[in-house]
């Protein structure tokens, strides 16, 4: 399990980097009187030497204690992450699902109707989805659908149910739909021209059946390889989307934490992300095995 030393290294590096940034968690335009500053630092052990703080932090983490947030003084880091993660997960998972489904469908349709109007329209859409950044698309969606037409909520808090998810999920998924559609189209075109497909056609199988039983799985392999970067893109894209819609997810807390020099919160989220990435790589490996029997047999 090379994961644990990697994780440890990540924590130590992140700890050093966070403390190296100028300024501290209690800085503000209102400079604190020296005694108050001293009292605050003592209360949070910030006046101890750095290696001592690091050791204290690591022992805390080993016990599952990620410390109090320096900025949100009523909440612990575990609590904040515990509240924020399900929100980001729901958002990210739905965006991933929407992106996969729509991307695969669009890419397949474009591949089947290669060089027709359908193909050109889908690929044009893919180009715009990739080139226009999320922070342009999202506010436009909000302005149109939430403010002007009032079909959907403009924000997160105080709105119940599925409705408040639609715009953020769409905003987050759109660039990924575009990438996946392009990938799928290219891959599907490739697969459709291979020998075993020609054989199936010769045996009289219809297009729908060919796609479903023979072409889809191999064509999806490149899309699966893209899953890693896609998740990363969704993680980073979620910061912008969460900011625009006011969603209390990990992305928002991460950025706020960095800007506020909220050391414990930032470190907690870094550790969390690192663990997630490790877990996700494992899942992808397993998925490969499930999809491609050749890999399984190895």
């Amino acid at each position: 399990m090379g994961a644990i030393p990697t994780l440890l290294l990540v924590i130590v590096l992140a700890f050093l980097m966070v403390h190296a940034a100028p300024g501290g968690p209690f800085d503000d335009e209102r400079v604190l009187p020296p005694e108050t500053q001293a009292a605050l630092e003592a209360a949070y052990n910030l006046d101890e030497p750095l290696h001592q703080q690091l050791f204290a932090y690591l022992s805390g983490v080993a016990r599952g204690d990620f410390g109090p947030s320096y900025r949100y003084r009523d909440h612990t880091v575990s609590e904040l992450i515990g509240n924020a993660f399900p929100v980001s997960l729901k958002l990210g998972a739905m965006a991933m699902l929407v992106a996969m489904v729509l991307g695969v469908l669009a890419g397949t349709a474009a591949a089947l109707r290669r060089n027709t109007v359908v193909d050109k329209v889908v690929m044009a859409f893919a180009m715009t989805g990739i080139s226009i950044p999320v922070f342009v698309i999202a506010p436009i969606l909000v302005l149109l659908l939430a403010v002007r037409l009032q079909w959907l909520p403009a924000g997160w808090s105080g709105n119940e149910g599925v409705g408040r998810l639609i715009l953020p999920v769409v905003a987050l998924a759109l660039p990924q739909v575009a990438y996946i559609a392009r990938l799928m189209r290219a891959s599907m075109v490739d697969v459709l021209s291979s020998d075993f497909i020609r054989t199936a056609r010769a045996q009289g199988l219809g297009t729908a059946a060919i796609i479903r039983y023979h072409a889809l799985k191999p064509a999806m392999l490149p899309v699966l390889s893209y899953m890693g970067p896609a998740v990363a893109a969704i993680l980073t894209g979620s910061v912008v989307v969460e900011e625009i819609f006011g969603i209390p997810g990990l992305g928002q807390f991460f950025v706020r934490g960095a800007l506020n020099r909220d050391y414990t919160l930032v470190l907690g989220i870094v550790i969390f992300y690192a663990a997630l990435v490790v877990l996700f790589n494992l899942v992808v490996d397993l998925l490969y095995g499930a999809i491609d029997p050749r890999i399984r047999r190895r």
């Binding site: 300024g23 005694e35 003592a42 003084r73 403009a154 924000g155 819609f245 006011g246 807390f253 800007l259």
Partner: protein
């Protein structure tokens, strides 16, 4: 013909979608009388709902709804009794005796008593609490020594001779003490609650309130949900049943949510489409003077600005503030020719010596001063201007850079830094020359602006040190007669302005969008808007 299996699958999908959509579309209508809910936009989460551990203005907005100090403010901005129903002040101005309101209670029914205030004020200065505003009551007997850890909190000059009498003893007269006692840091906390729950006393459900509302729930990054505190002494006058403080950090998102009808009140207005907002929402836009000054400070510990008042004056003069507030900031800010903003109680700000000259006259005057300081076309002045990374700061800095170049031939290098980095550099006073900063007043008295310029004050960014100024401030502090005190303070400001340690640029304004159905909103210079003073009249809503 589709197969049975496929039909089954389609039916299942259809039913599942129907279930999801039905969940979403059916609104559960609550039984009983309609509950009025006010939706306000907050710009950040409070640091804490413990009044001693909070510091931001946003935290203050929430705290003023769930707590009350000895005094409070009326909707029109006057000091009124709060948790104290009356008080008297000794002739020497050193002893204040408060009578706690008869029958005032916490949200759990416990009586509000004077010894709880003693406990709370001691906790405020206790170094273990590490309160941001412990120095707010720094003039109370022994307060400073306690904060420094030299005396135990029990030595603080506050006593409760009986359940309803609170006595505060001061080391020197503090004419603005009553307005200090409206500040959330001086709000009471419930000792029994802290004893039972420890740090967890701030959790929604544990937190007791002596204010108009109590905290029902707090989702960090999302919303704070408040509901009426029926035990509040003035609950009968509280019109709105529930308040939601929505944490929306982006001003643009607040505007969008306001336009979509999800917020009644926004915390601010984005600068970018301000002109459009002014046009479309003229009646709902509230711009009012605010107790804050935006300034450029000089680093007085190093050349070229050390011991060089003429040079500082030249740079100060060559800035056309009218152009800046009209074209660059453009949200109704006022050009600043004083240090203390207008609207401060019992005070008339002094003005910079060149305030009545035209800009051309000022530029000519500035060129002369620049030459006297030894700079000119053969020896151009090269300086650095630092500000925190942000569009609005950059625009202003670019404008000032251009003004200094055009009028004086000064070469200004612009350096933008992340806010925390700038703060650290300003405090170190090592690399800075000219830096952007601001000061927001804590209470409605000139002292909050002038005191930061005293030698050694932690917020004295320019490191200004003038014996005459310090002595005038000290004299002012000893005056009991408000008229005499005012004279000393005004003289101190005159002294400060003549020295030009800072370039005041503009005075802040508070900016909010307020829906027409909100009744009772009063613009005031502290930007305090207690939810308990507001009511909702749906009849006023726009069609």
């Amino acid at each position: 013909m589709i197969s049975k299996k496929r039909a089954f699958v389609y039916l299942a999908i259809l039913l599942a979608s129907a279930a999801v959509l039905w969940q979403y579309s059916v609104q559960t209508v609550p039984e009983g009388p309609a509950v009025s809910v006010l939706h306000r936009g907050l710009l950040t989460d409070p640091e804490s709902v413990d009044p001693h551990k909070a510091r931001s203005t946003q935290a203050g907005i929430v705290l003023r709804d769930i707590g009350e100090g000895l005094l409070s403010y009326s909707p029109t901005g006057e000091l009124v009794p709060g948790a104290a129903e009356q008080w008297n002040i000794s002739d020497d101005g050193l002893t204040y005796t408060f009578t706690i309101r008869d029958g005032a209670r916490w949200s759990n029914g416990d009586l509000l008593t004077a010894d709880q205030f003693v406990f709370s004020l001691r906790r405020l200065v206790d170094p273990d609490t590490a309160a941001f505003y412990s120095q707010m009551i720094g003039d109370v007997v022994n307060a400073t020594a306690i904060v420094a850890g030299e005396l135990p909190p029990e030595e603080l000059g506050v006593e409760a001779p009986d359940e309803r009498t609170l006595v505060i003893k001061l080391e020197r007269p503090v004419p603005y003490l009553l307005s200090l006692l409206t500040f959330p840091s001086t709000f009471p906390v419930h000792p029994g609650s802290i004893a039972t729950h420890g740090d967890g006393f701030t959790r929604a459900g544990n937190l007791l309130s002596n204010g108009a509302y109590k905290l029902d729930a707090w989702e960090p990054g999302s919303v704070l949900a408040l509901s009426r505190n029926e035990q509040y002494w003035n609950d009968a006058a509280t019109a709105i049943d529930e308040v939601r403080h929505h944490v929306v950090t982006q001003e643009m998102t607040q505007l969008n949510r306001y336009r979509a009808g999800e917020l009644h009140i926004t915390g601010s207005v984005p600068p970018d489409n301000f002109a459009q907002v002014q046009k479309d929402y003229a009646d709902e836009l509230h711009i009012a003077p605010y107790l804050g000054v935006y300034y450029y400070g000089f680093n007085l510990t190093k050349p070229p600005f050390k011991d060089n008042p003429g040079l500082r004056e030249a740079l100060s003069m060559a800035i056309d503030r009218e152009v800046l507030v009209k074209s660059i900031t453009g949200r109704g800010e006022a050009a600043a020719y004083s240090w203390v903003p207008p609207g401060v109680d019992n005070y008339e700000p002094r003005r910079l010596n060149y305030a009545d000259e035209t800009q051309d006259e000022r530029n000519a005057h500035a060129r002369r001063l620049l030459a006297e300081a030894g700079y000119g076309p053969n020896n151009p002045l090269e300086i650095e201007l630092r500000y925190n990374t942000s569009d609005s700061q950059q625009r202003l800095a670019l404008a000032v850079q251009a003004m200094w170049k055009d009028a004086l031939g000064v070469e200004t290098t612009l350096v933008n830094e992340e806010f925390q980095v700038l703060m650290a550099n300003m405090r170190a006073a090592d690399v800075t020359q000219v830096f952007r900063s601001s000061w927001i007043g804590d209470y409605n008295d000139a002292h909050t602006f002038l005191s930061i310029m005293e030698s050694g004050n932690a917020s004295n960014m320019p490191r200004y040190s003038n014996e005459e100024f310090d002595s005038l401030m000290k004299d002012a502090a000893e005056q009991v007669d408000p008229k005499l005190r005012r004279l000393y303070l005004e003289e101190a400001e005159r002294e400060l302005l003549a020295d030009h340690p800072v370039i005041p640029i503009y005075f802040y304004v508070s900016k909010h969008l307020v829906k027409p159905e909100v009744v009772g909103w009063g613009d005031n210079v502290l930007d305090y808007h207690y939810s308990q003073h507001l009511s909702l009249a749906p009849a006023n809503a726009a069609p």
